[in-house]
């Protein structure tokens, strides 16, 4: 293959594209969408994080400003965790609107993460979001198909393909030239969008480390470049093997609908159909059932907690709980909290396993559908996927647990047992010593692990692409 010829053919495709009406309409539309989604992405990120930061600070301040009191009251006073958006959510909104944003953290109870945007939205939310990533995932692929469907098929229809071959240009050169041209064309959209994202990364101060977000950004850029290479190759191949340009277009539109709309949605629905999940009330019932079975600290005659009492009394060689060297109420609550949390998390883990099963059908279809690969990968690296949300949720729960147990410990250490002399409250210095909730985003190595399937699928697709272009170009029909 001669480089010069390939560049020449690629350049020709560019010239043709820029002369076509499709391109001018497209460019206009893309510029509008780019501006709109940049603005709305930024506004969303900036405003929401701004509000949440302020509230998180307020929450900490009011925690610290509590007067001297009984530590268990502080355990009930509790705290809130507000979910901050990752800077790259400006690029890909992912599940951002469908997961909760704030959770109340208190003793004895795992609350739900509430106030997702979806819970405050109309049915329009189901039409999807416009984000920069959505343009790259959904709209640009369609444009690639529009701009490339005729590339080879029309040359053949017009008889110019025969002429090219007659002039000594090899079939491979034609196929690779057209492919390179189309790919290059798609990269115009890609780079203009990522340029905007880069500006954000550099300008907007954010919580993640600079290195981490740049790494994520790099992975995203490379992935989308590969994705577009795959799409361009599909376009060229379909065009090369269709009798007419019209036939190529119809096939490509079919592929687009199948890849972007029909397959992902159907597979997600089927996954949900195959692996049913319990409703919230069913899970709560199950949790309570297990809890009562293992030991209910509210039940005065509970065998588990009575045995616990006997063993503690024995170990400290006293007759009454009142004579123990620590506050017995605090001790029982600490044990109860540990028990109920373990049971709750076990059930929650089971629920998430079912979610994973539901999602895996769609996720593993990435090997058949490159769109699925890029969709999941893009969300993962933008910090807007389900795993990122769970990471936040886990951190919030860990904070809640620590808060409750620290307060129980304070009660054990400083509050006298029933019937004994001593103050019923402790100094508010202890609240000030308790650290605020600070969230660190998922580390990039974890994201790589989560998105392994998507990465593998994308790599496999890119190998398949090059292989397909090489093999099939030899069979290109001139007439």
């Amino acid at each position: 293959m001669r480089k010069r010829i390939i560049y020449l053919l690629a350049g020709q495709l560019w010239k043709d594209a820029f002369r076509s009406k499709v391109m001018s309409v497209t460019l206009g539309l893309m510029i509008f969408l780019l501006i709109f989604s940049t603005y709305s992405g930024w506004e969303n990120y900036h405003d929401q994080n701004y509000t949440r930061d302020i509230i998180q600070d307020q929450v900490q301040q009011s925690w610290e400003n509590n007067p001297d009191k009984h530590p268990h009251r502080m355990a009930h006073y509790g705290s809130f965790a507000l979910r901050l958006k990752h800077i790259l959510s400006v690029f890909d909104l992912g599940m951002e609107n469908f997961v909760g944003n704030a959770v109340f953290l208190e003793a004895h109870k795992q609350n739900t993460v509430n106030f997702s945007e979806a819970s405050m939205s109309t049915g329009l939310l189901r039409f999807g979001d416009v984000s920069l990533a959505m343009l790259l995932k959904v709209i640009v692929p369609l444009l690639i198909f529009y701009l490339g469907f005729a590339s080879i098929a029309r040359e053949r229809q017009n008889g110019t393909l025969k002429l090219l071959i007659g002039q000594g240009i090899s079939r491979k050169e034609i196929v690779f030239g057209k492919w390179l041209g189309l790919w290059g064309l798609s990269l115009i959209f890609l780079f203009s969008i990522f340029l905007v994202v880069l500006v954000f990364l550099l300008m907007e101060s954010h919580d993640t480390s600079y290195k981490d977000s740049m790494l994520r950004f790099g992975v995203l850029v490379i992935s989308y470049i590969i994705f577009f290479a795959i799409l361009s190759a599909i376009t060229i191949l379909v065009s090369a093997f269709s009798k007419t340009a019209k036939g190529a277009l119809i096939k490509l539109l079919g592929i687009w609908l199948l890849f972007v709309i029909i397959l992902p949605k159907s597979l997600q629905a089927i996954g949900y159909y195959l692996y049913p999940t319990p409703s919230k009330i069913e899970m709560e019932t199950a949790v309570e059932y297990d809890l009562v079975k293992q030991g209910d600290s509210h039940n005065p005659d509970d065998p588990h907690f009575n045995a616990l009492k006997d063993s503690v009394l024995l170990a400290h060689n006293v007759k009454k709980v009142g004579d123990l060297p620590f506050n017995y109420g605090g001790f029982v609550m600490a044990k109860g909290e540990a028990l109920s949390t373990a049971i709750y998390l076990e059930h929650q883990e089971r629920l998430y396993k079912v979610y994973n099963k539901q999602n895996n059908l769609e996720r593993s279809s990435a090997f058949l559908n490159p769109y699925t690969a890029i969709k999941n990968l893009s969300m993962g690296f933008s910090g807007t996927d389900f795993k990122s949300f769970l990471h936040f949720k886990d951190k919030a729960e860990a904070y809640r647990y620590k808060l409750a147990q620290d307060m129980n410990q304070l009660q054990m250490d400083f509050i006298p047992n029933k019937g004994k002399e001593g103050p019923n409250k402790i100094s508010n210095d202890y609240w000030k010593k308790f650290p605020p909730f600070e969230y660190q985003f998922l580390s990039i190595s974890k994201v790589f692990k989560n998105e392994l399937i998507s990465i593998l699928a994308l790599l496999l697709w890119s190998i398949l692409t090059v292989f397909g272009l090489l093999r099939l170009s030899t069979n290109l029909k001139a007439i």
Binding site: N44, F115, A118, S121, L124, G128, Q268, A269, T277, Q358
Partner: protein, 446 residues
């Protein structure tokens, strides 16, 4: 004539493809609706059992202290499920079907989220509404984009024009055959849905039915309009798919993004914090700080004494109520903002048939935002009724058995909403008429 056109249509690949696609996806969507209804039923049974069981168990432990007993007891309000909701599941997967609340502060319990897989929430349910709004137009496009251009490109158009003077009529008949086929499938699926999902033939069902027919009529005339431009097949395919993408993906998403950003709801988070602080700070204040506000809200309890130096239930539940009062304004603002989002969306939707269809489906199926807000309102009233009925008995330090616990089963809430046929049908009908006129004018040149 129709006989021949039908025969030739039945021989096309696209006929079989659409038939299989629409029927199979349609049936799948109905089954998904069925599963959704079954899940609802299971949830309700579980909630009823939960309430019964938990009352029974807690009665054993706290029979002597009604105030403490009611600290733990949870009462359920269930939105009575309607089978019609399975056609358009809408927001009812995001918003819970039921809420179980204690008589403590409501604000902290009211908005508790449902458990649902966010990936599913994001991709949305594959319900019949989706099939109608997204897939049916695609099939219409696939069957009509080359109505004329195919004849032109195959060369049959010239033969035809030599043989008949009513060329426009011929195209029209060809179109009618195809549209008729799509409508037949739609009617079949709707009847299937009503049979499998046991949806009664109520006004709401017919309204969804009519709205679907009208919606497809809109797409039919849109395709007819494209045909009337007499362009080649590639152009038509490209243009129609672009229109489809704009109407079903781009435009609604743009509007949604705009509405979400324009009406952000930080009040939700403020209310959440204010409720907690409004309640908790009272622990550290004089009893009056609680009781003044509480008596103002419920003067009937003034006769109860509140000991200054020790804990009393009236004070405790008074503090709980103060939390709700502290969050009242923000909570109302939040509701207002959400209503604003709804109103603006509905207004814009009047001009965009896809959005109008989706919002009216949800509205008619009782799965939209407004129906959930109404449920929350009912929950607030239910909570107050419960509190007031229990307060006197708690404050009198009655034992738990003065209450007939058998009557405290999970309660159902049934929504009552009217809809206007004019509002429902007129917007899309007008748009359809306008496009028809333009298409007809184009064809006169033929």
């Amino acid at each position: 004539m129709y006989h021949l056109l039908l025969k030739s249509f039945f021989r096309t690949k696209i006929f079989w493809l659409s038939l299989v696609l629409l029927i199979s996806v349609g049936i799948i969507s109905i089954l998904i609706g069925k599963q959704y209804l079954v899940k609802q039923e299971k949830t309700i049974v579980a909630a009823q059992a939960f309430q019964k069981e938990s009352i029974k168990r807690n009665l054993e432990y706290h029979n002597d202290d009604l105030g403490l007993l009611l600290y733990y007891l949870r009462f359920t309000l269930i939105k009575k499920p309607e089978n019609i909701s399975a056609i358009s599941i809408g927001q009812s997967d995001v918003n819970p079907l039921l809420q179980t609340v204690t008589i403590r502060g409501l604000e902290g319990q009211k908005y508790d989220a449902n458990f649902e897989n966010p990936s599913l929430l994001m991709s949305g349910n594959l319900d019949l509404g989706f099939v109608i709004i997204y897939l049916f137009p695609l099939v219409l496009i696939a069957m009509t984009f080359n109505l004329y251009s195919e004849e032109e490109e195959l060369g049959t158009w010239r033969i035809l024009s030599a043989q008949t003077s009513a060329k426009a009529k011929f195209l029209f008949k060809k179109l009618v055959v195809r549209i008729g086929f799509v409508f037949a499938i739609l009617i079949f699926l709707m009847l299937m849905a009503s049979a499998i999902l046991q949806i009664p033939y109520s006004a709401n069902f017919w309204a969804i039915f009519m709205q679907s027919l009208l919606y497809l009529l809109f797409w039919s005339v849109l395709c007819f309009f494209m045909v009337s431009l007499l362009k080649n097949s590639s152009f038509n395919a490209l243009a129609l798919i672009s229109i489809w993408v704009t109407l079903t993906i781009l435009f609604p998403a743009l509007v949604n993004n705009y509405v979400l950003n324009k009406y952000q709801v930080p009040e939700a988070l403020d209310a959440m914090v204010e409720q907690r602080d409004g309640y908790h700070e009272k622990w550290d204040l004089e009893k009056d700080a609680t009781m003044t506000g509480f008596y103002e809200a419920y003067p009937q309890f003034k006769k109860y004494d509140v000991p200054e130096d020790k804990f009393s239930w009236i004070w405790y539940y008074g503090m709980q109520h103060m939390g709700d009062l502290a969050a009242k304004n923000k909570s109302a603002e939040m509701k207002e903002k959400i209503m604003m989002r709804n109103t603006i969306s509905e207004k814009i939707a009047l001009f965009v048939p896809t959005m109008h269809a989706q919002l009216s489906f949800n509205n008619l199926a009782g799965t939209d935002m407004v129906s959930h807000l109404n449920f929350l309102k009912a929950l607030t009233e239910y909570h107050e009724t419960l509190r007031l009925s229990f307060y006197t008995k708690i404050f009198d330090y009655n034992p738990a058995d003065v209450i007939d616990w058998e009557t405290h089963e999970a309660k159902f809430y049934k929504s009552k909403r009217d809809f206007s046929w004019l509002y429902l049908m007129l917007p899309t009908l007008l748009i359809t008429l306008i496009i028809t006129i333009f298409g007809g004018l184009n064809l006169r040149k033929l």
